[in-house]
Subunit: 345 residues, 2 copies
DNA sequence: CTGAAAGCGCTTACAG
DNA sequence: CTGAAAGCGCTTACAG
């Protein structure tokens, strides 16, 4: 816990030299450098970043804001961001906005002065406030398009179109989209893609929601879907879709046979659900790495407006199957009504 | 983005006074204080913590290390820790050790000099290294007993005993424990509680593992259990238990009838699984809040050795039921063998 | 109540 | 290659 001047004294050099031995080793005689380093070891010294930051003007920290770490989509993203940032010499200060746009902006503003750069993943806040943040601190957005701003965008549109095409090919003629958060860029993109593709294929489109992206929402969503004439469901994300799966089973409806369900993300639970969930796989980890790299560029050159685009893939599993022939489009009678058990929670 | 001297100039006071207006408003004339604050608003100034830290000797940051944020047990803990820390004026720097004891210690050592205090949740590292960390920075451990160290300990022993008692009451006479990480304090506690209670009740005890606490591990664990004569299974945590549930179903075994399964944590998925998982509920959020409060005390008085203990509750759901009468203790034949479907992944 | 001065621990032109 | 000096932005005894 010694200080630089202790080291200098111990090594018999000036503070300046001791400092250089750490900050710019190249400028120091190799022997002197060794002497300093040994002295440092003896004194138990490592350069503290706080004092360093003050002088150098940077903090070697990145801020990271996500809407909800309890949503399984985010942990892998956070993990790769942390790992990559660490490789590049930065610690990560994480904050969770709990899906509240106002908190999100407040957290961002608080962090702004304490970090070298900010990563905002799936931000829900309004455009102009995000632009404001970007003016105070170098920022990279993930899953959100802000004009002129550097971003990593995961293009789910194509994946969603494939999802609709799959259902169409399986004979489904009425598809419901279970919407995610109202201010989510991804939600808009996904809804438009589903709706557009339905229109193109002449499939009836309906929307339910918005829903918070969690299992609980899926419960309610399932009841809405079961009460409609839709035979195919595409949810904003896996959490909602998984909730739907659970609830349908409780009501005696078999996903993949009575109703086909598709999620988005391909989170670990998707493969393990029963039946396994068909889903649009989103490369979250890849996005995390790309975002850190981009942020490093932005911080370094302080003027990048680059946008990186990543693609998705449809992963087909057991929750999708041929449309049941017997659903009456007018009454919504699934010919199974007697099998539907009333369930309360 | 102005600086304190800008504010001072703008307000027509000395830097000292401007500083006091923020650091100790009580020492400054009310009018002067207002003048300074208005000047600050005009210049767009807010006290930057870096410079402040250097002088004051604190950072207003807490470090937080967890083994795996992708395990659903941790996000709620992290969330409450962040919320509470924020209330108490501290940001949280989060790191994920990926279940690697070595990384955990390294991360802790790195953070030590950059934060006012450290929270280590469910640490896996060796005792002496944790003690070493504690010497460099005020630390509170959660879910780990380190001699003399302040900690929040969740006492699962009683919950585990209840779990064994439940199975025993349901007629189970052979119970398997699916072990978690080898160096996990909670795992030791849980295993001993299960084993002890089995002994007391005259129930045969077996152990499998150790397993990483995730769904994937549960898959393998399920096959081991299915191949044994155990009719009741208690897993280290919900993730493993949930993986077991999934895999048993795939193999045509019905949890709650053919085999009873109990997890630990009561994570959100537990209630939504099919059948819903009987589990020992662990008050993670409560532990998070308590840990922050304790850490604040430790940092303030710099010498607390207090240990806070929290209790667990057994939550009974559909994954547990009467022991099947027809399992042969010698051959392990469940009389259902024809129903077991071979499944590959 | 307010100001001048020293100092927190380091970095970095500027001389040598 | 190395040292003395100034300074990063603030805080806080010390005088007044």
């Amino acid at each position: 816990m010694g200080t630089l001047s202790d080291v200098a004294k111990e090594a018999g050099v000036s503070i300046s030299t001791a400092s250089r031995a750490f900050a710019s080793p190249g400028l120091v005689n190799a022997q002197t450098r060794d002497r300093v380093q040994q002295a440092a070891a003896r004194v138990g010294y490592t350069p503290p970043r706080v004092a360093r930051s003050l002088q150098a003007g940077w903090t070697s920290k990145f801020g990271l804001i996500v809407p909800d770490i309890a949503n399984p989509f985010f942990p892998p993203v956070i993990k790769t961001i942390q790992a990559r940032a660490r490789q590049r010499g930065h610690a990560v200060v994480l904050a969770d906005s709990d899906e509240h746009p106002a908190d999100e902006i407040e957290l961002a503003a608080m962090m702004a002065k304490e970090v070298d750069g900010l990563l905002m993943v799936s931000p829900r806040g309004p455009k102009d406030q995000l632009e404001e943040i970007r003016r105070i601190v170098p920022t990279v957005f993930v899953n959100r398009h802000v004009p002129q701003a550097p971003a990593v965008l995961i293009d789910t549109a194509e994946g969603m179109q494939h999802a609709v095409q799959l259902l169409h090919a399986l004979g489904h003629r009425h598809i419901a989209y279970l919407a995610g958060p109202r201010t989510s860029w991804a939600n808009t993109q996904r809804r438009e893609a589903v709706e557009g593709e339905c229109g193109r294929l002449g499939v009836e489109f309906a929307q339910f929601g918005p829903f918070e992206p969690n299992l609980q929402s899926g419960i309610g969503a399932a009841d809405m879907v079961a009460g409609s004439t839709a035979t195919g469901v595409i949810a904003y994300d896996d959490m909602i879709a998984l909730g739907v799966l659970t609830r349908l089973a409780e009501r005696g409806l078999q996903p993949g046979r009575d109703i086909s369900v598709i999620g988005v993300d391909d989170s670990p639970m998707a493969a393990l659900a029963h039946p396994a969930l068909t889903t649009v796989r989103v490369p979250g980890a890849q996005a995390g790495t790309a975002a850190v790299d981009l942020l490093c560029d932005v911080v370094a050159r302080s003027a990048s407006t680059q946008v990186i685009r990543l693609d998705t893939t449809l992963v087909v599993r057991g929750s999708t199957g041929p449309a049941p022939a017997h659903v009456s489009p007018t009454t919504g009678d699934r010919g199974q009504e007697r099998r539907v058990k009333p369930v309360s929670r």
